[in-house]
């Protein structure tokens, strides 16, 4: 029997998800033995034309990481959707939009102008901006266009499963690949990680006070943090209560609060709103001025609560930005 075909592809991502595949360490050998990798641009040489030539549904599973923000990424997402039996959104960006999703607070023009002209580290004397086509030696070259905003994979094509995380941890990657190869798959559309908040597996759980009363919020660099005490009890915003578990509490174990990369549990529509709700309800003061003073410790609520999920939030994108 031929080995099942598997593809890995990346869109708007940093490469960290690719790294995780390698982080499987010697376990990757077991995976490579059982599957036939047909596309993996970061590590192996395949051409898009090879994929186009394949019959539809001939790839058993495609692990696609990265958000969708250009026409090329969108086209590849559609192509891989057509060629794959299972399309798996791998990592925060494909799952909920990820860090690139924060770009949904700005217009495409603002982003291009800052990146190519305004940023302090940029030297661009001629003011060149990326073009979608240009002519050279009589040939017209076409380049992908940047979309107006960033989308999660499932906002562009149908997705079968999600593997969360920025990047997904080796344990859940291994579990996902195992489930796939052995056909132990849950209902379509499931996130392949436990459906319970991170606090449940956090080693600091016992120190979480039943009644947190915030008198201030501090950011991790502003205070020497107790390595064993619940972050919320120390006045640090920890996204644990609003975030799915499964990562093995890596950040809290490294004395850093959870920033929410595994996304919400299945019962939550909007991770940021839930976190805001829970944190704010537990602020100590009862008067507007007192409350505002405490809230000064959260200068950027969108960036704090939607760090990995703005495109999948209820509002998705800042209002008033151009749509086309």
């Amino acid at each position: 029997m031929p080995k099942p075909k598997v593809a890995f592809y990346w869109c708007a991502s940093c490469g960290g998800c690719e790294e995780t595949v390698v982080d499987l360490a010697e376990d990757i050998l077991g995976v490579v033995e059982k599957v036939d990798i047909v596309l993996w641009p970061v590590a192996m040489d395949f051409k898009y034309a090879d994929v186009r030539a394949m019959p539809d549904k001939s790839i058993v599973a495609t692990f696609l990481n990265g958000a969708i923000r250009s026409t090329e990424q969108e086209e590849m997402a559609r192509l891989l959707r057509r060629k794959s039996q299972f399309l798996i959104a791998y990592g925060s960006c494909a799952h909920t939009g990820g860090i690139p999703g924060l770009a949904n607070q700005f217009s495409r023009e603002e982003i291009l102008n800052f990146v190519y002209k305004g940023s302090p580290s940029t030297v661009n004397e001629t003011g060149t901006l990326p073009q979608t086509e240009f002519e050279e030696q009589g040939r017209r070259v076409h380049l992908p266009a940047l979309h107006q905003g960033v989308r999660s994979l499932d906002q562009v094509v149908e997705v079968d499963y999600y593997v969360p995380g920025c990047p997904p941890t080796p344990n859940i990657t291994k579990a996902a690949v195992g489930a796939l190869l052995e056909g132990r798959l849950p209902a379509k559309g499931s996130v392949l990680a436990p459906d319970i908040a991170l606090c449940d597996e956090c080693p600091r759980k016992a120190t979480k006070p039943t009644n947190v009363a915030f008198t201030e919020f501090v950011r991790p660099h502003q205070r020497l943090l107790d390595p064993n005490k619940c972050f919320l009890a120390q006045g640090v915003v920890c996204m644990g209560p609003a975030t799915r578990s499964g990562c093995g509490s890596q950040c809290p174990s490294g004395n850093m609060p959870c920033t929410g990369c595994f996304g919400p549990t299945s019962r939550v529509k909007d991770q940021g709103a839930k976190m805001l709700s829970s944190l704010c309800a537990n602020i100590e003061p009862k008067d507007e001025d007192g409350i505002d003073k405490v809230l000064e410790g959260i200068p950027d609520p969108v960036g704090t609560f939607y760090r990995y999920g703005l495109p999948k939030s209820l509002l998705r994108r800042k209002g008033g930005l151009p749509t086309s």
Binding site: K274, C280, D292, L295, S313, R317, G319
Partner: protein
Amino acid sequence: MTEKKWTPRLVAFFCNWCTYTAADLAGVSRLKYASNVRIIRVMCSGRIDPQFVLEAFAKGADGVLIGGCHPNDCHYVEGNYKMLRRYRLLKRMLADMGIEPDRFRLEWISAAEGEKVKRVVDEMVQKLTALGPLAWDKKLEDWDREVKALEEHVQAQQTTKEVANA
């Protein structure tokens, strides 16, 4: 084609014990207030999940009004304070997302203040009318056209291929 004239859609979450009762009072007192408001009764303003507010905006509300008991009067002791704290940050966050502050309001209205329901609703509808439509649902629809375009293009290509092969 005659398009129906736009009037604001205001979603109001009123607590059962004070503000909703006040709205009832406004009704039995035959006070007239703007009919743009859609009142949703909740047991306590502390029950209003910020998700409700975001969802209302995302689905096309032009404004969201929250009514709860005055401080110290909450039937559940603390619920209105919880709402107030959420409101302070949510309002700031909505502004960061491009939703004008006048579109989101919290008011304490006791069961005896039918008149205040009328005043607050009328004021808010007036402000929303001045602001114009928010139409978040339409914005998202418009924006999603940029991915629809390629899908249609791909489909058109496939159809021509199939026609050519036939």
